[in-house]
Amino acid sequence: MADEHRNEHAAPHHITPLTTYIFVFVARAAGTLLTWFASTVDLGWMNTPIALVIATTKAALVILTWVVVIGSFVWLGVLFVLTFADYLTRFWAIY
């Protein structure tokens, strides 16, 4: 939707077709069931990454057009990478 706002004069109207909303809804509901199902199956170390990928995909379905917030995800990535670069190497003998 962000691209539609370039026009400076008229109030923006980009009307998303109903089918898009229905598709996103069905995909997200299916993702929820998949997340639950995946948590009940033993996939070894893959369980957590799979849950994360499904949740992120579901989030992406909603925020695909939020270009601006990508910046804050970059900073969040920096927070996680530096924090775990510390913690995962600090008590390496315990893990």
Partner: protein, 230 residues
């Protein structure tokens, strides 16, 4: 200066055009950008707490599995679906506002309010059960099924109450915003030219929904495979 030049422009007389904007389009873009910026800070706000959550999850995997087992997965799953439906009705409210359909906008906002309230009701039920089971951190924490891990399970519950509590607070604020939007939509404030407040409210609502999409697997669905306890 430009505003003076455009003084006779029809948009300048729109009752909801603030004087600092040239036209409704500019006002709309500014308000959407403002919400994006706010949500960017919200991502970092929730992200900081989630980072702390992951540090302890890596440190105490058994306690995290035990903590996850104390959750009512069915209630959490129902709430996930309820929130996804509420995001759909919210998106449809924005669409109807764009189309200028007053009654449908009001109806969809009321539907969103309904599903948001159902979510909070289910959450309240879960909180009541946790309280009764002694799963509220502090002096009321009496859970001791696995005594040696109880302090760490309590730490999990600190994150559970903290994260879901912050999320529920956002939901309560969202319900308040919805009541305001319903009143404005009912008064006929919105239409194809002016629907920014509904869209901005929608962005906020979708964000709160997305936070839950992460909280649900993190707090309710912690895989226990390969992690032994008790």
């Amino acid at each position: 200066m430009t505003a003076v030049v455009h003084g006779d422009d029809e948009h300048a007389h729109h009752p909801f055009l603030q004087h600092q904007f040239e036209d409704l389009g500019q006002q709309h873009e500014a308000s959407i950008l403002g919400m994006w910026m706010f949500l960017s800070t919200e991502i970092l706000f929730f992200g900081g707490v989630l980072c702390a959550y992951w540090i302890y999850r890596v440190m105490y995997p058994q306690a995290w599995v035990l903590g996850g087992e104390q959750q009512n997965t069915l209630a959490g799953g129902i709430n996930t679906i309820v929130l996804i439906i509420s995001s759909l009705t919210m998106a449809l409210a924005v669409r109807n506002a764009q189309l200028g359909s007053r009654r449908a906008t009001v109806a969809m906002l009321i539907a969103t309010l309904f599903f948001g309230s159902v979510f909070l009701g289910v959450k309240g039920f879960e909180y009541t059960m946790h309280w009764r089971e002694g799963l509220f951190p502090g002096v009321h924490f009496t859970w001791h099924e696995v005594p040696e891990l109880a302090p760490k399970v309590q730490l999990f519950m600190v994150f559970y109450w903290g994260l879901t509590g912050l999320h529920a607070l956002h939901m309560v604020i969202g319900v308040g915003l919805l009541l305001w939007m319903i009143w404005r939509a009912w008064r006929g404030h919105f239409g194809p030219e002016y629907y920014g407040p509904v869209e901005v409210m929608g962005l906020y609502w979708h964000f709160v929904d997305i936070v839950w999409i992460f909280l649900f697997p993190f707090l309710y669905l912690i895989p226990h495979f390969g992690v032994h306890h008790g």
